[in-house]
Symmetry: C2
Subunit: 395 residues, 2 copies
């Protein structure tokens, strides 16, 4: 069942009944030894109880043994009671597994402001612990899905100097997604033996290049968490610069794959907008422009409708807050240059552009001048399905 998990990790799941009946909504991963921990968290001021607890664990030691994830209730904006409930769920699992409370990383997703349903937890945790070993990466991922249309996970094996190691990433998330930290729940596991310092450093860089550069609706959730656990169970030490670089490259690639799945499954999304900004005075300015375009409702609805209304893109560049010379700005949409040095060009290529806008992947290239700053962002479009899903999320 769990061939795709790295060595030393087991997964389980249970149907606690938090939302629908007979659907897994509680998941557990346990490592047979302490794993080096890396983590990045939402920048929302209202950090959910599980986020606060994960941050504590990361600050205290930087190792962990387990991940405990639920859907249905976010346990965010729930005050002291929410924090106490979160710790109680850790204690339930600790009592049945022999793990210490502070080795168990909690993850919650669901409605903000709703308390954990502790009676359902009490019934479900024994079943959850018993199920350890019965689920693979997909099985764990399904346990913490909410409005996701499909489970998002990916695995790969790498040849290091000392042998093979495995890397598995499992994520959920389809709404409340914004490139200002982790943007959903995600767990990356590896059985590589990598020291905490380099693991955390490569993890931060990989997240910055991937999950921090996707956007569905510009809403940064209270619960966004991405965890990386390296337990060394492969017995393969990753120490040389070449091995470390290879692991980082693979981690970045696999997080990129999964974060792309996230945008594809942006709530009700039908297209992925690939925004590239170059020639900015700084990376910060390039990021401002990319996010302004990627968050613009008018751009997102135009792309949804296949409307070659490129002026909306230039307008969003203009109100981004970035510094640039408007007479140096250029825009190429789906490979067709439509704006150069502040003026429209290729007016006669509207039909070609309209044809290309029927594609699922829409490249938007924006040049601001000859500065060194660049940034990329993947954003979803905005269509009727988004409105339908989000105007009635809780029913």
């Amino acid at each position: 069942m769990q061939d795709d998990l790295p060595k030393g990790f087991k997964a389980g799941a249970a149907a606690a009944g938090f939302k629908a009946q007979n659907r897994d909504d509680l998941g557990l991963i346990v490592s047979d030894r302490p794993a080096a921990l890396a983590g990045m968290f939402t920048q929302n001021v209202f950090k959910a109880a599980p986020v606060l607890v994960c941050q504590e664990i990361l600050a205290q030691g930087g190792t962990a043994r387990a991940v405990l994830a639920n859907s249905g209730q976010a346990n965010a904006c729930t005050g002291e009671e929410g924090l106490a409930n979160c710790r109680a769920t850790q204690a339930m699992v600790a009592g049945l597994t022999g793990l210490r409370v502070e080795e168990i990383l909690p993850l919650s997703t669901g409605v903000v402001g709703a308390h954990l349903k502790m009676d359902l937890w009490l019934d479900a945790v024994p079943l959850l612990v018993k199920s350890l070993g019965s689920r693979d990466a997909e099985g764990f991922t399904r346990a913490f899905m909410t409005t996701d249309a499909f489970p998002k996970f990916s695995s790969r094996e790498l040849q290091m100097e000392g042998g093979a190691v495995r890397l598995t990433v499992m994520a959920k998330g389809a709404g409340m997604i914004c490139p200002n930290m982790a943007t959903m729940l995600c767990v990356a596991l590896t059985d590589a033996d990598v020291e905490r310092g380099p693991w955390q450093a490569m993890f931060h860089r990989a997240v910055e290049q991937t999950f921090n550069r996707v956007s569905v609706d510009g809403d940064t959730s209270t619960n966004d968490t991405i965890l990386g656990l390296a337990n060394g169970a492969s017995g393969v030490a990753v120490r040389s610069a070449r091995d470390l670089a290879q692991l980082e490259e693979a981690l970045t690639a696999i997080l990129g794959t999964v974060s792309h799945m996230l945008v594809m499954d942006g709530e009700g999304a039908s297209k992925v907008i690939h925004i590239t900004v170059t020639g900015a005075a700084s990376e910060a300015d390039a990021a401002l422009v990319a996010r302004s375009v990627g968050h613009s409702q008018l751009v997102k609805t135009a792309i949804y409708g296949g409307d070659a209304n490129w002026g909306r893109i230039v307008t969003a560049v203009g109100y981004s807050g970035a510094s640039f010379d408007p007479t140096q700005v250029g825009l190429t949409l789906c490979g067709v240059e439509r704006f150069r040095q502040g003026r429209p060009v290729n007016d006669d290529k509207e039909d070609l552009l309209a044809e290309r806008l029927k594609a699922k992947d829409i490249p938007v290239e924006i040049s601001l001048g000859d500065g060194p700053g660049s940034y990329t962002l993947q954003a979803s479009d905005l269509g009727h399905e988004y409105v339908t899903l989000n105007s009635d999320y809780r029913s």
Copy 2:
């Protein structure tokens, strides 16, 4: 026909055929004497050609005689050619009216990146000038409507110490609306005799309190312009502190009325969200929070669907970037307190809340603590009609 315009102003309109046939899409207002001019403009870096020309006129002298408005083409992002076209339209009107080019304020709205259709202008301007005196406030307003569902205008008469003066405001705008300057096209006319300095000062304050506090989609257009012309044709001098205060009060009230119409007619909007933030450390922090909530797609779709998902509001407060203590935050939605000092309250009032969310006007009161900063914002919801309108704007 024009009983509702202040004395000394005449309005005309013509159907130039910029978009549909047989619909006014070109409007002109002429004052029989120079009027003291006030103006505020978009903060978008890509300022449309007519915005640049209005700014020139305002900088040069601060008086004007005419407003020339078209729909169909925004003349934004059109480079030097766009600027030359804009000046050519001023020259056409100047040639037929005897006004000077630099007394004619141009306003354009429509598709960004589209050039003015100069051949249609050449045919239409003679008809436009001939029509002067044949249109009232509604008639002029209809000439520069785009996707507006209804014309937005309002008039009132004020008793000053020296007699009666009249104030008329005409506006268009339903999309690309964001509280970062004027947010659409708007013309305010009065026949009061008020000096330029006090007129400009009260105009800025009134716009800041009204048009700068509405939001439809967070997109700041390239063309936003609001002009105020005071021509003194009533012969009533407004000089005393009491008269000046009365005029400012009326101006603020009438701009408030018209800006509320703008949100009600937000493209595809079905509800108006009235956001009040109090207790912030500063007005700037309060504004950050109000705009974060007012721009949140998740908040706007929940309100559209009548979903009492208040956690989305608190989440948007949390990622606003404002500084505050999360344990001091409170939220009252439709008069029902749901969040107090960082904790949910009144869980049993969900049904009451759901009932109240069926209303057209949705009050959202957010308290951040005991600081002096406050801010109000009116935002539209986000529904299927918005997507339908904006995914196929140009057809």
